[in-house]
Symmetry: C2
Amino acid sequence: MNGTAVGSAIGTAGIRVARAALTRLMEPSDLAGMALIAVAGPEDAVAFIRSRAHSSAVLEQEMTAVLSVSGTGRWPGLADALSRWRPRLADLAPERDLYVLERLGGGLLIPEDPQWPSALADLELGAPIALWVRGAVGRIPEQKRCIALVGSRDSTSYGANVAAEMASSLVQRGFTVVSGGAYGIDAQAHRGAISAAAQTGGQNGDPRRGTEEGVPPTLAVMAGGVDRFYPSGNEELLRAITEQGAIVAEVPPGTNPTRYRFLQRNRLIAALCEVTVVVEARWRSGALNTAHHADTLSRSVGAVPGSVYSANSAGCHRLLREGSAVCVTDAADIAELADAVGTNLAVEQEGAPALHDGLGVADLLLLDALPLRSTTTVDKLSVVAGLGTAAVLAGLGRLELLGLAQRANSGWKRNSNG
Amino acid sequence: MNGTAVGSAIGTAGIRVARAALTRLMEPSDLAGMALIAVAGPEDAVAFIRSRAHSSAVLEQEMTAVLSVSGTGRWPGLADALSRWRPRLADLAPERDLYVLERLGGGLLIPEDPQWPSALADLELGAPIALWVRGAVGRIPEQKRCIALVGSRDSTSYGANVAAEMASSLVQRGFTVVSGGAYGIDAQAHRGAISAAAQTGGQNGDPRRGTEEGVPPTLAVMAGGVDRFYPSGNEELLRAITEQGAIVAEVPPGTNPTRYRFLQRNRLIAALCEVTVVVEARWRSGALNTAHHADTLSRSVGAVPGSVYSANSAGCHRLLREGSAVCVTDAADIAELADAVGTNLAVEQEGAPALHDGLGVADLLLLDALPLRSTTTVDKLSVVAGLGTAAVLAGLGRLELLGLAQRANSGWKRNSNG
């Protein structure tokens, strides 16, 4: 029904069907395709691809202009692009795809919808044609509330714990945890978010959590079609995400996840989130690719430190060493990066300063010179501390006031708390 | 005998005795004292303190000039300083102190000696009056070869392992490991350095290691007098350091380590070393003080990451988060910071890139579309990959050359290594 809620929006039905078709014909980030849509609009773009026209000087010229603005100088040309798109016309059935999603309790979110995440605009020409959403279509929160937690599939128990705890604590702070629905860190992040939402029942964090307008605990951005729960081992988890949050993909139902689509999916995660945190990653890891996208979009990137002996933290340490990520050890650090609530939690850690922290050099010297058990005289203190008699007397007065020194049978000694 | 080697240097005997005396009269970083020495010279400085003069307008004026140049605008004045120094005249016996060190196989290193570490000049007026050295006096290497490994006394087994391994590997690279001789990280760093020197026997690293002119594996900079091995639990270790390296302090024999002297000692460690690495430190830790000194002296600072659950790594993560330290995970990272050998070891970690790393988007799409077991046709590939027939044929040729694709009964399939 969420699907229909959007699908039946007045005036956009044709555009929605056209965009549904275009997600089938074009791979993610097919810049020529984006240029065609920008120039002709979704419906005419589909019509043109369906036509027998081999090319169009006018279209090609305007597309070249759009592409050059977005930094793509030379491109193979419209004919070449058509040869990519047309072989897929045979499989084209956008109404069927929209119906499939509707039956699964989702729909197609398009830029023309008010709920379209404005953050995706930062991808410029690389922005998705549309988003296939399984779950409440209107549930993708604004960038400021979204935190990506990503990492290796083969996570360690350390990384798994950190991911789950950070996710849970972020949800309690009213954030939505975005990840890729994969095994390992992704799954732990989704689980932590869902469990926190279950515990808080919308009391902590955002009171509207879970409701249609509310902030969902977690989103999964997939590299393949949202009709399939992939990987199958995460089926239950992904089902739970569709109920409390949403599963999102720019590719239509029935599409297989491929290496290329995984890399493209990462740019969506980065674009949707205010902060991307790499919890665990090997020296070479897809999670670093997501971090790189976030960096390119000038979003904040965080990395979780770990043992120098753990290959699964080598990627995080690489980001820290290269200065492309900030060291984050808990949700408070992440919230601080997101410039949101809880900024000062880190400071609290400092704990109460020791009593002697505020002392000047002279008083510190004097305090060091004061014996704990026996007592001593002002003259002795003057020698041991290397201070004049006057300075010793003045200092003893200050230390006594602070409760660090005390008079004892005609001498002085340190208080045990000094 | 090393002591005499320096102690008997022609022309400096008087200055050496004077500086020995001044280390007894003045606490470390007593700027007024440093100003007096700068103005009057060591011998006249002692003579003036011994005299009955209550002050000296000329001296005080020149000292004020020196202090203001070094940023100390207002100071209590010479009379006040004299009241600090004179109470200690009673205990003054510099020849005895020099003799004590000589008997212990050491001596007093003074700025007038050719072996004086030039790096200490960066401390400006805060530079030590002299260094009491137990071990070969000429053995303090140049800054470029010195790496400080510091950290908490209550180290975890993780921190202990990292400290020992980093130290050992640094010595094998010809570096000298400098630390504070304390329990925990310090002790492990010294141990790792000594064991590496024992193993290599001067074959690896610096061939002159261990010899009088050679690079010692490790130095311990102490907060108290070098006549005592403190803490007593490290006696054997410290004895070993005096044999292969040296133990150094700016305070004379018989001086107790105090909180103030520990903080001052940290500035010496930072000043002597090209890089200061904090291996393990709590949120509040003396090791952070050493890092801060290194930062102030614009020396490189490294921090070793660890578990976010370990309180003993919180200080390191704090440094990383605040950007005042670089993330270092092994000796190669540290050597890179020291801008020395082994710079590229970190890169090697990257390992061989996957075969598909160099592929363009089209070939990547094509590779993703190729089935591993069954075979497929060019037309099918064109649909699945979303590429024109011509592009598919060209791409298949490239992939075949790379050994990623292969012809099989009138169709195409992926090679298992693809």
